[in-house]
Structures are given as C-alpha cells and as structure tokens.
C-alpha cells in the first residue's frame, strides 16, 4: 500500500467519493496555490469502500467551503495544525453559488448575455436541488461533474 506522509499545517479533505478528487482540485482552484498538494485516489474506506483524499498544505481560509459543500457536503474537512487534527469543519449547503457551474438551458438569458454571472440558488435543501436564478432550470449533476 502506498503511504503519503502527514502534513504539518493545512487541511485534509477525507471521504471524497472515489474518482471525484480531480474535479474538486479543479473547482477549488488548487492548481493556483503555491503549496504541496497530495491527491490520493481509490484509498480503502470502511464507510465508502473506496474513497479519494486530498491533502493540502495551506491556510484553511484559502479554501472555498461553499464550493466544496456544493460538490459534496459529505466530505470531511480536517484542519491540521502542528501535525494534529485541531478541527473538523461541517459543510453546509450554500444558499447560492456563483460562477461554479453554468446554466445549460439554451433558452436561458445567460446563454446570450455574456457578462452575466451564472448563479444557482438552493431551491430544495432536503433534495439538494439547485436552480438557475434566472430561468429556474434544475441543475443536474450528471451533466457537469
């Protein structure tokens, strides 16, 4: 089994659905950070069978928790200081997300109005349904991630 060492300062995103780590890497814009990032794919998990893990050595404030919660609010966020877990952050579905996903409804005004931000609003927290702020088209996960 492959071993990836502990990090001293930063955060560990655990319980990522297997195969989703690269998409999270992209959406959190981790490529823009000048710090160590470890992407672990298909690690063994009692809870999920297989899971992905991301270890990032940077300040937790640099992480957009809203985007992460939108992608998967079941991800565990461990904050690490001096090599130890000091906090587990709970992810809450954001009320609104801006410019993370695009509305794919060809009849939506966002399809022609270039400068318009793509905003999705949490319409049904129980069913985790997001709708485009403008045309109310339902966001379908399968179409994007």
């Amino acid at each position: 089994m492959l071993n990836v060492g502990k990090i001293e300062e930063g955060f560990v995103l655990d319980h990522i659905k297997a195969g989703k780590s690269l998409s999270i890497y992209e959406h959190l814009q981790l490529d823009k950070l000048d710090c160590t990032v470890a992407i672990i794919k298909n690690a063994r998990s009692n809870k999920l069978g297989k899971k992905d893990i991301l270890k990032v050595e940077c300040d937790i404030d640099m992480l957009d928790l809203d985007v992460l919660a939108f992608i998967d609010h079941n991800i565990t966020v461990n904050v690490i200081k001096a090599g130890e877990i000091v906090e587990k952050k709970e992810l809450v579905l954001p009320q609104q997300i801006k410019n993370v996903i695009k509305c794919h409804n060809p009849r939506c005004i966002t399809s022609i109005e270039q400068e318009l931000p793509h905003i999705f609003v949490l319409a049904d927290p129980a069913k985790e349904v997001y709708r485009c702020k403008y045309c109310e088209e339902k966001y379908r996960e399968s179409a994007k991630f």
């Binding site: 009849r107 005004i109 109310e136």
Partner: protein
C-alpha cells in the same frame, strides 16, 4: 416578477384597485399624467403589448417602445443590461417581453425603474396570471373553493403552470387536469400538489368531468406536439369545447382561455353567458392599470 412575489393580501389590494378602476375609470384618467411606459418587446406579441399600451394610455400616461428585436438595439448586439440602463433614463416604468428566460429579471437588477415581466420564453407570463385571477375573482366573487379543470396542452402551457401555482394558495382548491398522455402536466407540479396535499385528478376526456367543474381553463392542443398524426386525429376532438359539451356543465361554470383561440373553442360557445374569455381580455387591461399604478407608487 413571478405572481407569487405578491402575497395573497397584496394581490387582494391589486384586484380591489382594478375593480375600482373598472367602476370609476374617469377617476384614474389622469393618474399617470406626465409618466412614460416603455414597452420593450424583443419578440412580437400584439395582444399583451396593446394591453399594456391601452392600460397606460387610459391612465393618462404616454408610451414609447419597440415591438420586436429587429427594430431595437438588440439587433446590433446590445445586452439587456445595457438596454435597460438606457431605457431607465427615458421612461418611468418598463414592460418587457423577451424570448430568453430570466431576461426581465436581469433587467430589473440593472434598472432604476420598475420592470414588469410581460412574458419570458416558456418561463413566466405573470400579468396573464393576474388577469386570470382578477377575472375569476370579479365574476365569481372569490378565489377559494373551486374545482378547476385545466384542459389541453398542460405540459408546455406556461399560463397553466403559473395559474396552478397561484391558485394553490387559496383554500379548498381542487384541480382536474384534462389532457392527452403526451401533454400531461409536468412532474414537478404533480410533486408540489402532493406535497401540499392538494387534491387533483388527471383524465383524458373533457366530457367525463364537465359536470363537476366550477371553472374551465382551455388551452390549445397543437398538432406539432404529438408524436404521430394518428394520435392527434384520435384525440383532438376531446379538447374542442363545443355547445354539446357545454350542456353538460354547471349553469354558473366559467370558461376561460388566455387567447388567441384557434379552434379549441367553437365560435358558437362565444354566445354562452358562461364564456368569459373576451371579458378576460378586458380585465387584463384593468389589472395592468392597477399594476402600473401600484409599481409607480400612485395607488
């Protein structure tokens, strides 16, 4: 604007004002003196545009605008956001129709003047819903406790969806959806009705339910919505309202239709006192007058 942006109480105030305008038109003939309505219609809609223009003119105001995108700066590629910023300098209130869903909302975010959604693609047509509600409230005296039949294209008809959403807020409403299988009301509406415990039925034939209806809302069944010609021929007469079907209805049932009518209501039915669809067009002007006054703070 979505009709649900108004509370039931706010709608009541709007309808009471519309009824007062109907009774005392002279009292409102100069209510909007010096005010300008801009009608920004990016797609043609003679009926709605003229209704807005009539409303503003009857209030003593003036109207500027364009009737299709080709005669506007949109043809040169100007965005809705920029257009409304400019229109805000020219007019006091704007009615906008746009083929893209959400365009009036974008406009309202950038505008310094009130923007009324006069229809945005297949999304909303709120002033039609206000018209429908005012017609029912005026002719029946209330908006609760009705068994309402919605007949025809219930899948793509935005006026149908808006009306359902508006009526669920009134107690003891019961819906009967009358449509071919292909044009059934969308799942999200069915889910919403189940969630709110609002009774509804789905049937294929209008005759079967006619005697139980207090209100019948007709829409057109378009041939191109069907998968094959055979189904269209087999089903189309189920959704044509004629004198024979009217004999099955209650004496005080109202027939509503957002218009334009093609052949889904036989012209013989026009003489029936229960046919309310042309009066509906009249109420459309009153409700738009009330809306303009309210949004301009002149009510």
């Amino acid at each position: 604007m979505n009709p649900l942006d108004f509370s039931v109480e706010e709608l009541d105030r709007l309808f009471t004002l519309a009824n007062d305008i109907e009774k005392n038109p002279a009292a409102y003939a100069h209510a909007c003196d010096g005010k300008i309505l801009a009608t920004c219609f990016y797609e043609p809609s003679t009926r709605t545009r003229l209704s807005f223009e009539s409303a503003m003119t009857r209030l003593g105001g003036r109207v500027i605008g364009f009737a299709d995108a080709n005669s506007s700066s949109a043809a040169k590629g100007e965005s809705v956001s920029d257009t409304i910023r400019v229109i805000s300098c020219y007019a006091d209130i704007c009615a906008m129709r746009h083929p893209k869903e959400g365009a009036p909302m974008v406009a309202s975010e950038k505008s310094r003047i009130p923007v009324i959604n006069a229809g945005d693609g297949g999304h909303y047509h709120p002033t039609q819903t206000l018209t429908d509600l005012l017609t029912i409230r005026t002719m029946k005296g209330h908006l609760d406790g009705f068994t309402i039949g919605l007949c025809g294209d219930l899948k793509f008809g935005r006026t149908v969806h808006s009306l359902i959403n508006a009526l669920v807020r009134y107690p003891n409403t019961r819906f009967i959806f009358i449509s071919p299988e292909e044009l059934r009301v969308p799942d999200y509406i069915i889910e919403m009705l189940k969630e709110k415990n609002i009774p509804f039925e789905e049937v294929i034939r209008l005759e079967d339910v006619m005697p139980r209806l207090d209100l019948l809302y007709m829409t057109r069944v378009q041939k191109e919505r069907f998968f094959n010609e055979e189904d269209y021929v087999r089903l189309k007469d189920f959704y044509v309202l004629d004198v024979a079907k009217m004999t099955l209805a209650k004496e005080d049932m109202l027939v509503l239709h957002p218009l334009p009518r093609v052949n889904e209501i036989s012209v013989e039915v026009d003489e029936d006192p229960r046919a309310a669809y042309f009066r509906q067009a009249q109420y459309g002007v009153y409700v738009r007058m009330a809306l303009i006054l309210t949004l301009l703070g002149l009510a």
